[in-house]
């Protein structure tokens, strides 16, 4: 009977394709936009990918990774002296203009690291060496930085010139020699990353009274990060978050303070509703068209339970096929987006699972309408 149910479904090709495409469309919208949203969100905490630290200490009013409410330089020592803190290091972060050899300006995210420990340095260097950062006037940038810095560069013979290791750019009239290329995650503000030592970063950046953006820290072995954070907060009055807490604090800040989640949320909702309408409406039409056939099956002795199973199989099969195609198309489109590099894409595993849940819900709902309709149909109508 199940096989017959499927044949009944596939036999009505037009309606079947409409059903599947409704669900495919829904799946696509519901997967793609949230993935782009999540990708965008990963950009907001890009510095937590590039600079790994167990604990981030910041101004009590700071909430997210691009907040600039600087601390005093002496705060590093106050954090160091908290019992249970193994080490603490200064961390500068700022967005500023870097002047290129040809006089053009480019926006960069400058990161200053503690000169002795280089705590928070990028984990993966594609070229060059981290140690050279200790030499005077040196920086490490990322591949995106090389692209940006190379824009408009010419060799003496006029051919395009690729900036690379050993080349020098200027940041605020100070020389900066590239000694390494790091693998980084892109920042929300759009500029490439430039890593240097804290002392030099402070010189590159426009002078302000307080320059210390964050303090990176780690606890003594045996203490949980949460416990160490609690102690730092209690003793210094600063805000101390574990990496995980800081990440979520950042994400929630963007969710609360920008229209992005709302915009994405409404698209997802529209996708779900449109998909649901198309699917439920088409399935209903399918059931109505087949009502006489279902009634004939009933007359011939098919129980309501059997017909229910048939309808459930018909609707869930369509749901799964629609979801499969939708998810496939979404992954192709998203891969294309990634290659384009203009938007961030991140699909946490929960997303496809949730979308599958919604699709199954839609299918279940359509099936339910059909089941109610069919179980209420009198088999005697087949005589009319």
């Amino acid at each position: 009977m199940i096989r017959l149910a499927l044949k009944m479904l596939f036999g009505d090709r037009g309606k079947y394709l409409l059903l599947v495409s409704g669900l495919t469309f829904s799946t696509l919208l519901m997967t793609q936009f949230p993935s782009v949203f999540c990708g965008l969100m990963t950009w907001t905490y890009a510095n937590m990918f590039n600079s790994r630290s167990h604990i981030w200490v910041m101004d009590p009013k700071a909430e997210q990774s691009l907040d600039s409410k600087p601390l005093r330089d002496t705060d590093v020592n106050r954090v160091r002296s908290v019992a249970g803190v193994a080490w603490a290091a200064p961390y500068f972060q700022g967005t500023l203009q870097a002047r290129m050899p040809d006089g053009n300006f480019k926006l960069v995210t400058l990161v200053g690291l503690d000169a002795t420990t280089l705590a928070g340095a990028p984990a993966l260097l594609l070229q060059g060496s981290l140690d050279e950062l200790r030499l005077p006037n040196t920086i490490i940038t990322d591949e995106f930085g090389l692209d940006r810095f190379s824009e408009g560069q010419r060799n003496p013979d006029g051919s395009p010139r690729r900036i690379g290791i050993g080349d020098t750019i200027e940041i605020n009239d100070r020389e900066a020699r590239i000694v390494g290329v790091a693998k980084t995650r892109r920042s929300f503000t759009g500029g490439p990353f430039v890593f240097t030592t804290y002392d030099r970063a402070v010189l590159y950046a426009p002078q302000q009274r307080k320059m210390l953006t964050f303090i990176l820290a780690a606890g003594e072995p045996g203490l949980s990060d949460e416990e160490v954070c609690r102690r730092i907060a209690a003793e210094t009055g600063l805000r101390a978050l574990t990496e995980e807490e800081f990440r979520w604090s950042t994400i929630w800040w963007y969710v609360r303070n920008t229209g992005i989640p709302f915009a994405i949320g409404s698209i997802v909702l529209i996708g779900a509703i449109v998909g649901m309408l198309i699917a439920a409406q088409t399935f209903h039409a399918f059931v109505l068209e087949n009502l006489r056939n279902f009634a004939a099956l009933k007359a011939m002795g098919a129980s309501n339970g059997r017909l229910t199973a048939m309808l459930a199989v018909q609707s869930l099969t369509t749901g799964l096929i629609g979801y499969g195609i939708g998810a496939g198309v979404a992954s192709v489109v998203l891969r294309f987006f990634v290659r384009l590099g203009k938007v961030g894409v991140y699909t946490p595993w929960q997303l496809p699972v949730a979308v599958l849940g919604v699709i199954l819900l839609i299918s279940g709902f359509s099936a339910l309408l059909g089941i109610i309709r069919v179980t209420r149909t009198e088999p005697a109508i087949v005589f009319r």
């Binding site: 009977m1 096989r3 017959l4 044949k7 009944m8 596939f10 036999g11 009505d12 087949n290 006489r292 056939n293 004939a296 099956l297 009933k298 007359a299 011939m300 002795g301 098919a302 129980s303 059997r306 009198e378 088999p379 005697a380 087949v382 005589f383 009319r384």
Partner: protein, 247 residues
């Protein structure tokens, strides 16, 4: 001298059956204290003017509709005593249907359509299809079994429907105007087929018809009018008289 045939046992017995539709002023009494019976090995016709309640009576015998009052015994089983689920299972096992509108499922092949009653009873697909093939051979449609019913003529479709009604060897076959959608020639052919089916001494075929040209196929004939059985014609002579009378 050969022994007389043993008296055939009743397959269907209906006594004092009432059925009405609607409530209050809108109420219509469709069946009024109907008595009806049909025996094993016979082809019983049910005739009468349009709206007299033939289809209603047939639906109640088939268990697709419940009566209001009265006894309905089919193959020794009292239908009003069964639950809805039991009636459904009973129908699946013992009753075959031939409808005026054929009611073949257009998206299934001819073979699959014929296999449906067996599949409803839970037979495996392979066995069901094999028996469907046999049943189709019996009604004279051994080819075209992988076609969809829409590609067949009306007469062929009705023969497919008969193959479907026979495939699970039901003891009672219910036919509501099986020839009404067919031309004369195909109608005769379908009736001859049903006539043949009713030769099985354990099987009872009840046929509702409007078409006097089919009367000669009947063993007995119940005449209905306005919700009552007027008379039951018992002999070929009586039926023949009714036949000429109608023509």
């Amino acid at each position: 001298m050969p022994d007389p045939l043993p008296p055939s046992r009743p397959a269907i017995t209906v006594r004092q059956l009432d059925k009405s539709f609607g409530e209050g002023d809108a109420r219509i009494d469709v069946l009024k204290r109907v008595d009806f019976s049909a025996c094993e090995g016979e082809m019983m016709f049910l005739v009468g003017p349009s709206g007299c309640g033939k289809t209603t009576l047939l639906s109640i015998i088939a268990g697709t509709l419940a009566g209001d009052a009265g006894e309905i015994d089919v193959l020794g089983q009292s239908l009003p005593r069964l639950t809805r689920a039991e009636v459904t299972a009973f129908r699946a096992r013992y009753i075959g249907f031939v409808f005026q509108q054929f009611n073949l499922i257009p998206t299934l092949t001819v073979l699959e359509n014929v296999a449906v009653p067996l599949l409803i009873q839970g037979a495996p697909m392979r066995t069901a299809l094999a028996r469907a093939q046999e049943s189709l051979a019996r009604v004279g449609i051994p080819e075209k079994v992988r076609e969809h019913p829409g590609r067949l003529s009306g007469g062929q479709q009705q023969r497919v429907a008969i193959a479907r009604a026979l495939v699970h060897e039901p003891r009672v076959i219910i036919c509501d105007e099986p020839t009404a959608s067919l031309d004369r020639e195909n109608g005769q052919r379908v009736m001859a087929l049903l006539r043949d089916v009713a030769r099985d001494p354990r099987r009872c075929v009840v046929v509702v018809t409007h078409d006097p040209r089919t009367y000669p196929f009947a063993d007995r004939m119940s005449e209905m009018e306005d919700g009552r059985i007027l008379r039951v014609l018992q002999t070929p002579a009586e039926i023949g008289a009714a036949h000429t009378e109608k023509l």
